[in-house]
Symmetry: C2
Subunit: 413 residues, 2 copies
């Protein structure tokens, strides 16, 4: 047990420290690229002019092609190690594809199975901490979410294998590489266990959101191709893979993809053909012209890494200096976040204090289904958007808030 | 009754005429702009360069803004005579917005009402002939479609007023200006009747697809603003308006909008926020930079009209020359189609014959719900895509096919 006087001293010191900062307006809440990163892709616009060639499989300026231009299918299928006929290139947002995919499953069912809407209670597995917008979608559809523990090599597969014996369990959210928020990369063993799982529900699918597939910062880490692995077990219908260029080129103005077995893609198109004639093919073409090849994508991502590394260094250094004895955090090799576990029952208060002092964090609990962190412990730090100078201040404030929140619990304030 | 010898002669003449044409590959099926029209908007690409200013309400290259950039809201709200807070600027396809809007109504209900999915049988009013993709959406959702007769000033409002007494009737498809396929513009009286209708179902909405709002060819015709009219009756929640730049700039690579009362838009956003973070704002900005203003849009549409006028002239002239005594057709002032009514029970056969001779038409029946034209009479002609030379040949072939199909019914062949 801590010496109460020592705690009181820490409390006072950090309150004083916080009082030094006035009128801050800093944000470490969302995984948004910063201006320098956005500037990296500006040359994309110079490749499109009134004199450009817009012709490929057809004149891409006109209607047609539901599932993406062949040039983009080629590039992005290579990037994620699948076949060109196992990918569709769609609109400006992979979140939108995921939502639409789940909405289709609700309304029309998966591959000829009964619509989820008609199957009574539906359940979903949610490795947590995880991506708040995933959990928000399943909650919005009234799907019961089940927390799955995250280990250092991916979700707790034993727990998952138990839960999928229940035919009401219809899917799982995964961010398999540089996971949001922990930056964990699923091990080969974990990917193989996903690839060969045989859930009781025939319409169970893995929603494999490979949002950070090439987004390394310190070191790239190879993720096994789940679709290729699944094929080895004749189990290729088990997974839908999603991704986008939102954090390669421009968030919300890039292109996105879904990759799955041909049977699954055929099932998608059966319904998609009523929803749209096709997606923005000119933007697809511009992206292929700009990124050129898989090597081109990696060259481009090296520039992102160079910009982001100092940001992550700052966060990790300040945490090491300030919170070593109090908290645990991840040291990711890539992605957009650092995940920190505070002492139990202090996360909400720390975020509240930070907000009062002008530093906006992702809401405490946001990384868990129903926004309920059972321990009130996890906070997601997003170091990308602020400048390095801002980030140093924001982290000083944040760490002081963590210490005050902790001290308050000890002092029963 | 026609002299049977005269019919036999017409049959032979036209069979011979058709036999003159070999290996044609012409298409009058879809309302696609031609290359000259697409070229009109190529300068849009020169306005976006790596040095462009992407900042407005925020840096438009980054995440944010669910409902469209203010610059685009201003321009397009002016264009369709609504307030900026009564429009949202979204993605690349208004069809996609319509589909998503109906899917939301199915899954979540309209403005707090019970989801359509939970209301048993749902019915929809379908002025016909109409747009095949509209009917395909309602059919896909399992909604019962009811044919509404089209008059020269819009749909049969008496019939509509009768049907909306049924609380199972939840909506109606409308293309109020230069309608697909007839090119009809709804009269002020018709618009006012729509604006003040009080259906039994509180969750009834007019799906007002103003796809051709500025797409005149011979003469622009003013369409009353249904939202402004509806406000006069305190009935502004009755209508959703849709539109896009697909046939202003680039089909599938333009931007789209939905306009409705603030209450309706709030209801949309309540669900949309889970579907996406936002749409392609850079493309929205590019469109504003290119089109500039309402006057800019009209200047641009004058160039489209100049290109399209000869196409429509050809179709109308050949029809006048060849089918005057046999068929009735519309002479639209704008839009993308000419609608022709053949003698009953000949449309399918005429389209089949045309296809055999290398001229693809929109499928007979496609302009009716369930693809069932009760008279097998209506065919949609799309004169925009083929060159003028191709169009002349295609129309000669088509007219010969109509005569052969008609003669066959007379000769019981």
């Amino acid at each position: 047990m801590e010496d109460i006087n020592r705690v009181e001293q820490i409390y006072k010191e950090n309150i004083e420290k916080l009082n030094q900062y006035n009128n801050l307006d800093l944000n470490m809440a969302r995984g948004k690229p910063n201006t320098l990163q956005l500037d990296l892709s500006n040359p994309l616009f110079d490749l499109l002019t009134s004199k450009s060639n817009f012709k490929g499989a057809q004149d891409y300026r006109n209607y047609g092609i539901l599932d993406g231009i062949p040039e983009a299918k080629k590039l992005f299928s290579e990037l994620i190690s699948v076949q060109p006929e196992e990918i569709m290139i769609l609109g400006n947002s992979s979140l939108n594809i995921m939502y639409d995919t789940l909405q289709r499953a609700m309304q029309f069912g998966v591959c000829g199975n009964e619509p989820f809407n008609k199957q009574g209670k539906i359940k979903w597995l949610c490795p947590a901490p995880g991506y708040d917008r995933h959990f928000a979608i399943t909650e919005h559809f009234g799907i019961e979410m089940i927390n799955i523990k995250m280990n250092s090599d991916g979700p707790d597969m034993d727990a998952i294998y138990e839960y999928i014996k229940d035919p009401q369990v219809k899917g799982i959210w995964c961010v398999p590489k540089f996971s949001n928020p922990q930056g964990i990369v699923y091990s080969d063993e974990v990917v193989r266990k996903f690839a060969q799982m045989k859930p009781a529900a025939k319409d169970f699918r893995i929603y494999w959101d490979n949002a950070y597939c090439v987004h390394y910062i310190y070191k790239d880490v190879k993720l096994l191709s789940i679709l290729e692995e699944a094929k080895k077990y004749g189990n290729e219908d088990i997974v839908y893979q999603f991704g986008s260029t939102s954090k390669i080129t421009f968030p919300g103005s890039g292109i996105s993809w879904v990759s799955a077995s041909q049977k699954n893609l055929k099932d998608f198109k059966l319904h998609m053909q009523f929803q749209t004639i096709g997606y923005n093919k000119i933007n697809q073409l511009a992206h292929v012209n700009f990124l050129k090849s898989v090597d081109g994508v990696y060259d481009h991502m090296a520039k992102h890494a160079e910009i982001l590394k100092p940001h992550f260094d700052i966060v990790l250094n300040v945490l090491e200096k300030e919170l070593k004895s109090l908290c645990n955090w991840t040291k990711p090799n890539g992605g957009y976040f650092i995940s920190i576990d505070l002492p139990n029952n202090t996360a909400k208060r720390a975020v509240e204090l930070a907000k009062e002092h002008g530093v906006v964090m992702t809401g405490a609990g946001a990384t868990y289904p129903y926004k309920k962190d059972p321990n009130d412990s996890n906070i997601r730090i997003a170091p990308t958007l602020p400048s390095e100078e801002e980030l140093k201040i924001a982290m000083e404030v944040f760490c002081a808030c963590v210490k005050v929140a902790w001290a308050e619990t000890k002092l029963k304030k």
